[in-house]
């Protein structure tokens, strides 16, 4: 074990740099997924007829093996090619579904009598969304962002296969030279990132749910 620790310590500069790359991939794709998924999720609550086909399609896309999706994207102009942009596009696809689905479910979970009161008292559709529905759906939306983030951290290791960098670089190199210490040098930080961001966003989620349930101090 001390052998592994020494091994990791020797490579700390590279590990930190690749962790940084990894985080950029995850942050960029999750942010874009939220920017697209939240408005789309709201739209689906307004157009229930679209909800089933679109959520169904997003579910199917989710089942495409990630390595294959990275490959499929390479020949596509603008988003494709080798490197970070392609990886972000692929990660976005996977991050989109949880955010879309949770936004849709979160808005629909708001008590109908509360929604009716908002309309009946004279809120416009925009005011109702901004003042009532989104704040009440927020913990559920945040849960979707948390799932998207954790999934992206795992999937981003595969981005190294198309030259996008990140902690996957160490894992692929470890596989190539059959060195499990190298594999762990990529896998351990990735796992820690996933656990840490899950805990952080989970805490945020609980706080927002509690803040909505009880009066602030």
């Amino acid at each position: 074990m001390s052998g592994l620790a020494g091994f990791l310590w020797e490579r700390r500069v590279e590990i930190v740099a690749l962790t940084g790359e990894h985080l950029v991939l995850v942050a960029a794709s999750t942010t874009l997924a939220a920017a697209a998924g939240i408005p789309l999720g709201v739209l689906l609550t307004r157009r229930p007829r679209l909800a089933r086909p679109i959520l169904g399609f997003a579910n199917v896309v989710q089942t495409i093996p990630s390595l294959a999706l990275f490959g499929f994207l390479i020949p596509i102009p603008f988003i494709g090619g080798i490197g970070g942009r392609t990886a972000i596009a692929a990660l976005l696809v996977y991050a989109l579904l949880p955010i879309l689905r949770n936004t849709h479910a979160g808005i629909l979970s708001v008590d109908p009598s509360v929604v009716e009161a908002a309309s009946g008292l004279g809120m416009s559709a925009g005011q109702r969304l901004r003042l009532v529905e989104l704040p009440l759906a927020f913990p559920v939306v945040l849960a979707g962002i948390r799932i998207a983030t954790v999934v992206s951290i795992g999937l981003a290791t595969i981005a190294a296969a198309i030259g996008a960098g990140g902690l996957g670089v160490l894992i692929y190199r470890g596989i190539a030279v059959v060195d499990s210490r190298l594999i762990l040098a990529g896998a351990l930080p990735a796992a820690l990132l996933a656990i840490a961001s899950d805990a952080l966003l989970g805490a945020l989620e609980r706080r927002s749910a509690v803040a909505r349930a009880r009066r602030p101090a």
């Binding site: 509360v114 009161a117 009946g120 008292l121 349930a213 009066r215």
Partner: protein
């Protein structure tokens, strides 16, 4: 003669073609008058109420609020001028009591001072001292207290007309009785026109100046409780009213 607070003239509404929930419905509410829409569930009474503030739109006929055809009004502005109270209150759970009461004044852009003065007065009126209840969340209140907040919220912008849909329906009998008694005091003090939807015969008799009995989308009889008791227009009306004595 001033215009009635609310009038329905030959109003029809159906959600599925050929199955009207409201048919040729005609009713007037004078200013300051409380009229109960009374009938079994599915008789169209809630539909009638929602047509008045355009949560629904009529298929045929005319609805006027203070003499103005609601079809010519912007629904959002129309609703801000009509008080609205629903069963189980529908309070905003993420806002405290005061913020709930100030909903419509905020939408109307009142100043902080004016809003605060108004919410203080209304919370006092409904028996919830603002210093004790103003900062509480809806879930920290009993059902009766929530419903009081719902009434205060509906009265906030001082609308001359109030729509109340089963406002006391979800309460236990003791809380319901207390709120009904207070309703009569508020009514005497404020002089609002109230359209009250209820399936509870006793509630209609206690609270309303006139009662409109409905069955299957049609108005069967309108009159004071004494008139209805003395001369029920049909067997349905007589049998439905007899429930009160049961």
């Amino acid at each position: 003669m001033s215009d009635p607070a609310l009038e329905f003239r030959g109003v029809s509404k159906s959600f599925n073609p050929g199955r009207p929930v409201l048919e040729d419905f005609t009713l007037n509410l004078a200013a300051g008058e409380t009229v109960a829409l009374l009938g079994p569930s599915g008789c169209g009474k809630t539909t009638a109420l929602k047509l008045a503030n355009r949560l629904l739109d009529a298929d045929a006929g005319e609805i006027r609020v203070h003499g103005r055809d609601v079809r010519g009004e912007d629904p959002v502005r129309l609703r801000r001028g009509i008080g609205y109270v629903i069963q189980e209150a529908g309070l905003f759970p993420h806002w405290d009591v005061r913020r709930n009461v100030e909903t419509v004044p905020r939408l109307l852009g009142w100043t902080d001072a004016r809003r605060r003065e108004r919410s203080d007065a209304l919370l006092a009126l409904v028996g919830l001292p603002p210093e004790e209840f103003g900062a509480r969340r809806p879930r920290e209140l009993s059902g009766g207290q929530r419903q009081r907040v719902g009434v205060a919220r509906a009265l906030a912008a001082d609308p001359p007309l109030l729509l109340m849909d089963e406002p006391f329906g979800a309460l236990d009998p003791i809380a319901r009785r207390a709120l009904q008694r207070e309703f009569l005091q508020w009514k005497a003090r404020l002089g609002k026109a109230v359209l009250l939807v209820t399936h509870d015969v006793r509630e209609a008799f206690r609270l309303a100046d006139r009662i409109a009995v409905m069955e299957e989308g049609r108005l069967r009889q309108v009159g004071t409780s004494a008139e209805l008791s003395a001369r029920p227009a049909s067997a349905f009306v007589r049998d439905f009213l007899a429930e009160a004595d049961a």
